[in-house]
Symmetry: C2
Subunit: 327 residues, 2 copies
Amino acid sequence: MPRPCTVPPPVTSVLEAAGTWLPAGMAAVEERLAELTAGHGAALAGDAGATLAAGGKRLRPMLVLVCAGPGGGESAARAATAVELVHMATLVHDDVLDGAQLRRGEPTVAARSGRRRAVATGDLLFSRAFAELGANGGTRQVELLSATSVGLALGELAQRRDAYDTDISADRYLERCGLKTARLFECACLLGRAGKGSGDEPELASFGRGIGLAFQLLDDVLDVTGPPQRTGKARGTDLLDGTVTLPLIFAREEDPSLADVELRGLDEAGAESVCDGIAATGALDRVRALAREEVEDAKRALDEAPLSREERELLRLVADGVVERYS
Amino acid sequence: MPRPCTVPPPVTSVLEAAGTWLPAGMAAVEERLAELTAGHGAALAGDAGATLAAGGKRLRPMLVLVCAGPGGGESAARAATAVELVHMATLVHDDVLDGAQLRRGEPTVAARSGRRRAVATGDLLFSRAFAELGANGGTRQVELLSATSVGLALGELAQRRDAYDTDISADRYLERCGLKTARLFECACLLGRAGKGSGDEPELASFGRGIGLAFQLLDDVLDVTGPPQRTGKARGTDLLDGTVTLPLIFAREEDPSLADVELRGLDEAGAESVCDGIAATGALDRVRALAREEVEDAKRALDEAPLSREERELLRLVADGVVERYS
């Protein structure tokens, strides 16, 4: 498979709109991430370094920094680093779980170095995340990130339990997305706030959950539409892994033949053909519309949030970036 | 394989010697562990519950409680729970890494429910550990446990790097044990102290490291001697996994034929025969002697530690328990 063009980060507009504090903060996070992966010997440098260098949108650290605001300083950068480390850890572990070969167009740690090293590498990144928060002082951030990490793992367990079950409901799917994706976005917002306030602002929590959910919905659409050159993975990767997502759930309402698909033993050609079947219905547009609604609701939640005008404006731009990336 | 007799915990003597506060604290930890594994739905209850119910010596939580002393209360119980959760998480993940079928005579989570669920279950236990500390307030405990968890993962990565290399040195082996085992014992002691003091007492750190190292040395002897009815796993499990431990390193000095063993592709009969070869040298006695020395040094380190007479006496009994369990 040709190396895909890296999708440009959806966050350029945010960086341009912000004062110098935000690009400076993002640079500090990037430096810290590079330092941490280089500072543990060759094994981690190779494996986690590859995950790191493969890029990623750094949406979660950006949410931390924006919610912490211009005065966030080093403490905000550490929390932002922590949230990205947890995200990276889950990616590395998910790739062990999925047996995925490619991540962002690069070989996964599991494919590169074996499952054993991938499990340990994920554990290391995860531990480093809590070490960053420990250095910050205050326990609200530890509470937030650990509760979120519990959710991530429960989401993964739920996904395993649901695997190959083409009957699962939209509600069940949304519950899983809440645990697996939306909570880390919510956590990122509250982590930023915990450095300067209570870290318990319900409007910000809603905002984070909403854009996280939209992000996941659009990612699931992308798994169906591809193209692989853009996504860095084969179309229908979720199906091959037995994971039923909202596009299939909506599509099977229109095309009952999709309800009878046998996911076990599906090969790549079979997965592509199911993807074509889904795309032939109106399901993808319905999912995209739902994602846009979530983003609009999320932006409305910001109106009541205790934010400065600049912070509110920047968060709106982040929200738009989530949608634009996929449009 | 018949279900093994559970090795009696080496800690009975400690419980008997302590005031009621210690048995009460251990019971609180047990209750909390049961609660946490029951409180996350069927998946965790089944998998982590099995790991939990299979017992284990609970040496690490006991170290936390003893070091926290009679006034440790709920905060000490939470820290003790956290350290056992991290220990359980590493067991669950190690079994994924090793492809081990049995743990404490029971099927491992990986064998029972597949590697995918085992990775997620380990992540969940790990996250819950930090959630316990987050609830405690204060950041020294988070610092200690996260730095230790980084060490555990680095130790695992080092073990993977060294796999199948029969040339590795005793120093390299000891360094790995330091990361993989000794640090969590050290951390347990300091965690207990962090609730009432600095959590930075060098004598207690030495004590913890020493008994942790002895524990690992004796565990590695047991992997060679078995019997499986006692250990709950086949003899030579380490060898089958490509892990070279001190018994083989010492034995190859006496019997050069052992230096040429090809660990890749070794089968169970082959592993048993290497175990017999090791046992025929004086290596096992040398390793046992080294473990006893470590324990004696550890006990001496206590003389200077800022402890009450009762705490010091109890820690000495824990140290003796580590040796006695294997004698």
